[in-house]
Amino acid sequence: MASVARWETTLGREGERELVEAARRGDRDAAETLLESHELLVFRTCGRLLPPGEDVEAAVQETLLRALRNLGRFTGQGTFAGWLAAIAVNLCRDRLRRRRLVPFLSLEGREKGEVEPLSAIPSSEPNPERVAMARQAVNRLHGEVSRLPRRQQEVFALRFFAELDLGDIATALGVDVGTVKTHLHRAVQRVRVAVEEARP
């Protein structure tokens, strides 16, 4: 792997705008196509920004519903992905605020490997030692990301997990691209160095 993948749909900007217009008029098929081509982005964003124990599916559903109900507010200046990611980020922030008021599960849970879903690493691999090391490395990365300042966490998750480009991240967070770059560089530096230092 030589670079981070970039979130893209097959719709194109023009096709996207047409679908938004049609969905705004109540066209269910258009709305469905729009959701189908972007829902993974929302799953990845909510899945990484919400702490363990939060219902990711419910958060994704709420994000998609908010998007559909507010299609009239999508100006088309940025991409639909960036606009949708903004809704997802705001929803996650709301839930985190509520979570802080009523603490339920610690954010450090992932770091300690208590509840981290590591479905990406099959446990039936032939080399258990290697699998254990890979799990440790992933947990270490999650731990480092969870210790980043909130804005850096968001930028990191949107870039590496949701695979948004810098422009869409800027749209999603309501900041300029330069600010995104600054946060991203700081986040990568901190996480990468920590992960490398922990490597045997």
Partner: protein, 149 residues
Amino acid sequence: MSNPHLNDDELNLAVLGEDLPPGVAGHLAVCLDCRRRRDAFLDLVQEARGADPDAAARARVRERALAAWEAPDRRHWVRWLAAAAAVIVLSLLPLLRGRAPAPPVINADAVLVEVEKVLDRDPLSAVAAEEIVDTVVPVSYESGERSVS
């Protein structure tokens, strides 16, 4: 190899896929160690992303969102109903106040006349019953027995 290995800033740029200065890019193209460091981090990030939800989960969530979108938004109705109820209550408030029983009007003179009449009939009626008993028929308790002295 003439160029030194990538420093932290250059490695971060490489991780982020940003443009590298020509000398640095040239070094990265031929240096296995630097490429390994970059790729190791990117692979780890990829692994940490975890598995995407399966098609069934995606479809389920999408359908629920679409169904909720198509259903009439009850929140508007609730707001309208609450507003209407508030308007009705506020508009009926003066009427409700008008129908409330009026506070009794006390005629002090009539009360005084009535008191005078009662006292004329029975002077002791102005004294509490217990006081009458204590004064006229004193009661004492001695040795646990009630006796009249």
